[in-house]
Every structure is written in C-alpha cells, then in structure tokens.
Amino acid sequence: MKARPLDPQAFTAHRDILNHPDEAAVRDAFTRLPKRACVELHCPWSRRLAMQKTLVDLGAFAICLRPTADFQEVRITALKGKVGACFETGRSATYGGAALAVMDDDHHLIVGTIRVCEKTGGLYTLPPYRGLLTVTEGDAALIRRLEMDPLPFDCNTFEQDADRLATGAFAPAQTGAPFSVVFYPGPFSLLVLQDGSILRRGICATVPAQFVKDLEQKDGLLPAPPTMAAEAEHPTSYPSAYRTLGAGCLLDEPKLAKANPDAAATVDRSAEPAPEALTALRTSSEETQQRLRRLIDGQEPYFILTGSDPRDAVGCCPSPEVGEANRLVEAGLLACHRTPAPADACSTTLYAFVGEVGVRDDKPEFSINVVARRQAAEVLGKTARGRQVGRAALKTALLLLATASLLIAGRRALPAFGPAPTGFEAALARALNATNDDRRLFVCLFHAQETCDACEAMGRLCRQTVDSDFALQQRTGLLAYRQIAFDAPANRKIRERLGLYSSTVGLVWYDRGRLRDIRMLTQKVWSLWADDAAFISMLRDNIRALLPGNS
C-alpha cells in the first residue's frame, strides 16, 4: 500500500500534445485529461502568454516554456492535478536556486524553507521541480494519520510569506553594472532576484548581468538573443511594489502579447501589415491569393472557413485552407474571429484583414482597413501579373465601403432603437433623470431590488471608477452615475426592452436630450466583477470610448 498519494507516473502516463492550438482547443484537451496528467503545446512566440494564461486559468501548474533557438516557437509543458485537500504531515520544502524567492502556480511563495502540506510536498517532488526544491519526508505518525484522522493544514500563508520577504534584505545591483536580456522559462510563475527584481515566467527581461550566471546554472534561466532586446521589460522592484500594492503585486499577470490574433478585439482601420505579413502573402498558395483578391475586389468584409488547423492534433476536420489562413493571421496580415463550435460540428472561423475585426457584445463587427487592403492588393496584383488594381478606383471604392461600414456599425450600436416602442425612451429618461437638453453619458447599474454580492460589487466598482477617473466630467455634467432597479414596476419597459434579468452595467449616451447609444457591458461585468482592477480598467476604457473627444 502506498504511503504517499502522488505517483509521478500518474502525471506522465497521460500526456496530450497540441500543435498550434487556440485557447478553446487547450481548454477542451486539458479538461478531457484525467485528474493527474501532462499537457504539451507548441505555439508561436507571440501566442505564448495567451497559452500560459489559459493554462493557469485551468489550474495547471509547473508550467515551463521552452523557446526554440530563434525564439520564434515555444514548447509549453504543464501538469494537471493540484486538486485535493491540504493535510499536515510535517513536510517542508527548501528552494535551492539562485533567486531570493520563488512563487509557484498555487501562489506558494517560497523564501528559503517553508512548511508545506502533504499534497504540495508531493507535487514538489515531480520532475519539473527536481534540483530546485528539496522536500523533507515528514513525520511517520502524521503520515499514518492520513489513513485515519488527517490533520488539516493551512496553506494560506501567502501574505505572511510576502511580508517576510519584504522585510528581508535585498542586495542592490552594482551602480553602472551591465544588464543582460534573459528569459525565465519556469516552472515557477516568478522569481524574486537578490536585488528585488520580479522576474516573471515567459517574459524577456533585462536583469543585472551579475546575477545571470548563477540563475542560468541553478534555475534554468535562458539568455535571450539580441533580437529580443526590443521587447525586453525592465522588471518591477518587489520592495517598492510591495509598499504600494502589498502582496498583490506578485499576482499581476503578464501583459498579453500584442500579436495575439484571438485578442484582436479592437478595430484599427489603419493598422499596417508588417513586411513579413506581405512576404507571407507572396508565398501563400494560389487558392488563398484568389480568395483574398475576391475579398478585395468584391468589397466583402470577411470570408469564412470551416474546419481546423492541421497543426491541431485534436482538431475536427483538418483543413489546409484554415492552416494557411491561420499562418497569415500569425504573420499579421489577417485577423480572425472564431465562433463557438457547436457540440457536433467543427469550428467556423471568420477571417478579415488585420485591424478589421472587432467585437461588440460578443458579436463580431467588421470594418475596412484601407491601408492593409491596398498593400495586399499591390502584392496580389504583382503576383498575378496584370491584375493591377487601379489604385484611385480602389481607394474610392474602399473609402465608400468604409463609410458604409461605419454607417452599419453606427446602426448596430443602436440595434433596435430606430422606431422605439412607446414608453421605453420615456421610462429610461425618467429613471435616469435625464433632461430635454441633456448631453451626458450615464454609467448605469441595472440591478434587482434585492441585491446580491455581485451587483453590490459592480455598483461599488462603477462608483469608484467614475469618482476616481471621471471626476472632472462629473463636475461639468458630462457624465453621471445612476442605479436603476429593473424589477421595479415603473421600469418594466426598460427591463423588457433591454432583456434584463440579472444585474448589469450599461453606458447610456444622451445628446441634446435624445438617446443616442446604449452599450451593455453584461458579459464583461459578470466575468470581471470579482477582479477590481480588471473591472475598473474595462469600464474606464468603455467610458472613454463613448465620451466625446475620445472616440
């Protein structure tokens, strides 16, 4: 009978390998794996942070990112299976690397030696941590108790450990000392270096060269090629971040790479394709080039492909066309919007040129990126020899199309407010206390009369955002915060028209006393209400997008 619960073989016996997956494919594969397992992903460098975040959200741990020599591709490995109760068996773990402290994917901050529960002790004996952590065996009597009367263990010592780290001594880097560009591959989510720098996994950063050799030898730190110097970040200093943010400064997530195609939610009608994007277009198949010519010549906003990328090992209906289109997305020529795959159908992807795809209320919106299309048309024209598109004519046509799409987008922003049913606008104006000459943006919390934790948090965060970031606009009457109980009898028309059944936040724009726009943030507020910083940031961005002078 095994005394210890975690058998390393349980993690390696089940391994899933995914090539160039999207987030949905990672989620699907990860959740289908058994309770203890391993997953391996291969993705472009630009997608590594999105992949890492997906894995962290899924509860993966010991995540390691191994870039290829040219830092163009990354192999990510992660373990699944840190679930389970925490019991005391008297174990402790000692970090033996060159940093001052490390933090794992379960927010255990290890400064020297810490006590760990039986489960965490077991996880720390797994291969990714080998050589980095030394774990004691624990007490035989306590281990026997696991079978009869286990002693609970309080793993929640993060804040105490962070406090202990903050009060420790940091060795400042030598003045004028050189810096090196490095990459920390994991398995910890971050290292706190001797000078207090927070070095996060998956990020290229500049660190004092004096620390690098030890970190390379003991922690697997990788030197980054000179080409990565441009994107290298200067690490945050833990002592100063702790003073302002407390232990939470360790929990900040790394910013997602800007080249993440799935994150292309913002329309940028002037985004210019990178030179490598046009190179990728030149080398694409004749079929793909034809498709893009039709897209441009026919003034179509997008095209649709079904099937999966052949690089995705578990994808349904592999399609070379999808693979090629995805490569153009990765190169920065195209953008895509992936629609949720029905249970018994393969995925459908909408492709347009870079900067043309936006998302509003979870629905894709398209506009025309004149610059990208013109440059693509030039390449396609040259490639096709003789299919020169008259620039002026094309420009005029595209501008016309852009104007049309703007009009369409404008109409979509007010999807059904054209012939408003009697009473809705009046009810809304009454509830908002809007006047006949109002020119104001209302940040509105729609809530039930009986409130819950979530809607109270939403209200608090709305007020906080409005008071801290838009105080001037409030004073000048350009912006106001309101709360509307949608289940009050007087607000029945509002509830029915806006389809309200649970708390949500909406931005309501009045101009000269007329309702001009309503932007409901339902999806966003419900996904972010427990994350103060993300909620405030999201709301601030949306308010700024609607306020005059900010569009």
């Binding site: 289908r32 679930v83 109760a85 629609t339 249970a343 979870d362």
Partner: protein, 380 residues
C-alpha cells in the same frame, strides 16, 4: 416565488422554494436565448455563448477548475450516470457505497448487488476513515458517498475521503445535492472524481442539476447528440440553467449569515424539546450537521403519522428521506447510525431555510410537542 406564506415550510432538504429572481431569470433566458446552442446561426451561437458563460461562472462559484461540468436533469440522473457508467462495462469491479446515500445512488448500486459493498457509519453518522480504508478491498473501483447526508444532514469530510480513495486508486463519487449553498464548497480542495448537484435544493428550478467530473470519459446514458461534452445528449435546458445560476448566486450570497441564523433555529427546537421533557434522540453528530438540518427520532411513534398530523396543522416536514417517504420500512440511513427499527420508524426530518422565522419555528415546536404527546397516548 415570494417568501410570504412559507414560514411553516420546513422541508428545504426535499426542495427549497425557488427564488423569485431564479424564476425571472429562467423566463427571461427562455425568451432571450431561444436558439438551439448546437445551431450555427446567430441565435444559436448566442445561446451557446450564454450556456458556456453560465457553465464557467457556476464552476468558478464552486471552486472547480481543470475538469468538465455537465448539466443534466438533476443529481438523480447524474448519480445514475456515474454508477452505471462505471459498473456496467466491467463484470468484476466492485462498488463501495456509504450506508446513508440517497436512493438514486443506493438503488443504482443495487443493480450490481453481487459487487456492492456497504460502508458502515459510526453512531454519529460519520464515515470513519479507518472503516473506509478497511472497506476499500481489492477490486473496488468506485466509492459513493454524500457530502451532506440527505436524511441526517451530517457533513462528511469528503476532502480526506477523496484523498484516501486516490491513494488507493479508487474513483470517488460525492453526492453534493444537499451541500451546495448550505455549506462552503471548494471543489479544488476535494480530489473526488465526480460531484453531483440538484438545483431545486438551493432555490433553483427543478429538473436541473449536473455533475463535475475529473475522471475518464463515461458513456452517456442516452443516445443522441454530443451536447455537454458528449456526456449527456439532448438540447440543453438553458432557461433552467440560467435559473440555477441565479439561485446559486442568491443562496451563496447569504450563506454566512444564514448559517448562524439556521443554527439558532435548530438550537431553539432542541432546547424546547428538552424543556418539555419529550423523549427524543437526535440523529447526527452535534455540530457536524449542515445548518438548518434536524433529524429527530421519537421511539415508539410513527414518523409518517407525525408528519401527517403536523401537515394538518399547516407545517411541512418529512419522515426520513423525501424520496422514500410513505414507505413502511425503517429508514436505511437512520438504521445505519445503530438506531433500532422502532426509533427509525419514529424519525422526522426538519430542514429550515431562508423563509423560516423564529416565531413560526416556535409555533412549530409547540405543535410538535403537543402532537408527540397526543400520539404517545396511542403508541403502536
């Protein structure tokens, strides 16, 4: 449903009155997300997006990551899916089932009676890890137990139970139907393979529940499409799921203050029974039962008659498990505590909830004492 007029309803363990907001959310979802989530058009995709949002939010509220969650018609279906899915394909695997599990687990396991072992409870209704370690014999593939026992309300240490099962390589199935919203549930701290729930136990619509699973794929009970990760065919009941999510949010939001209030109410009943000198045995470990739960045995009396008499006086309580009521047999779960058949037959389950008020509980206790005295006059 308005809470007015529910102050004499003390059978929350059978079904909690639905929250008004849950009914509202259900109706609104039926109107708004009418599309079939498996369809590729806009209404279908909107429904699909909403379904996945609700699934993610529900799982997050239960502290569940890294596995799959499937909505079904309730815990009964989910429990059957697990037991049959594990036991049917194999002719030799054994199942170990706690003596106090719900009928949906017990009766599913009884289909494999020659491969079924029963895990005894201690006199307080708890699963002893020593007994579990002994009960997990060679060939045991599945353990079934409840997080909160449906008849006594005893809270089991499922974290330790699941950990022991994992050490022995045994799949662990926890029926959480009585636990969600009554006690804090963090599924990432419970290494079980299956955890089931029903919405109507926490003020959601009936006909909705489901399973959290981290285990290998089990074949669906029914043939059909690939909905719910291929675990449960049939068009998803999105309106009921929306109501379920709202009910969970509402009930969890008030869990902490409700815990103390409900414990006060159960304490007041026990104090009054003691003051009145009524002979009674309390089933379940003191301090180890879910808030608002009381299982009382009145030796020599007929629990069903007591329930019927109290119903005439306007009070709603249950005699043993709601799903086995009106059965003449003594309750299996009460017998498992070592009670005599006479005590088990005289058992009444009282379960308080959000509309239970001290005044109505006081009136109920007085009626209970009077009813017991009257029935004691003509014992069986």
């Amino acid at each position: 449903m308005n809470d007015d007029g529910l102050d004499r309803y003390f059978d929350y363990a059978a079904a909690a009155p639905p929250f008004e907001e849950a009914l509202f959310a259900q109706a609104e979802a039926a109107r708004t997300w009418f599309g079939n989530p498996s369809a590729s058009h806009q209404p279908g995709m909107a429904a699909h997006t909403e379904l996945e949002r609700l699934r993610g939010t529900f799982a997050a509220r239960c502290g569940f990551t890294g596995g799959r969650m499937a909505f079904m018609s309730g815990a009964t279906e989910a429990n059957n899916w697990i037991v049959h899915g594990i036991m049917r394909p194999s002719g030799s695997d054994r199942v170990l089932v706690a003596a106090d599990v719900h009928a949906s687990v017990w009766n599913a396991c009884r289909r494999y009676a020659d491969r079924m072992d029963v895990l005894p409870l201690d006199s307080m209704g708890r699963i002893s890890l020593t007994a579990l370690a002994t009960g997990l014999r060679t060939g045991t593939r599945l353990l079934c137990c409840s997080h909160v026992a449906s008849e006594t309300g005893v809270v089991q240490d499922v974290g330790a139970i699941a950990a022991l099962c994992e050490r022995r390589g045994v799949l662990c199935h926890v029926d959480g139907a009585q636990a969600l919203s009554r006690i804090p549930v963090n599924l990432d701290a419970i290494a079980c393979d299956f955890y089931t729930f029903s919405a109507h136990k926490f003020g959601g619509p009936r006909g909705c529940g489901g399973v959290f699973t981290r285990s290998t794929t089990i074949a669906p009970l029914l043939d059909g499409g690939l909905q719910e990760h291929g675990l449960r065919p049939g068009t998803e009941n999105l309106p009921a799921i929306a109501g379920t999510m709202t009910a969970l949010e509402r009930s969890c939001a008030t869990m902490v203050p409700e815990t103390n209030r409900l414990r006060e109410l159960t304490r007041s009943v026990l104090d009054e029974l003691e003051r009145s000198g009524t002979p009674v045995r309390v089933n379940g470990a003191p301090g180890m039962t879910a808030p608002g739960f009381l299982s009382l045995s009145f030796p020599g009396l007929d629990g069903h008659a007591l329930v019927a008499d109290l119903a005439v006086q306007g009070f709603a309580v249950a005699a043993g498990s709601a799903c086995s009521k009106n059965r003449p047999e003594p309750s299996r779960a009460i017998l498992a505590l070592g009670r005599s058949p006479a005590e088990a037959l005289g058992t009444v389950r009282i379960s308080f909830g959000r509309s239970s008020r001290p005044e109505s509980v006081k009136a109920f206790t007085e009626a209970l004492v009077q009813t017991i005295r009257r029935h004691a006059g003509h014992r069986r």
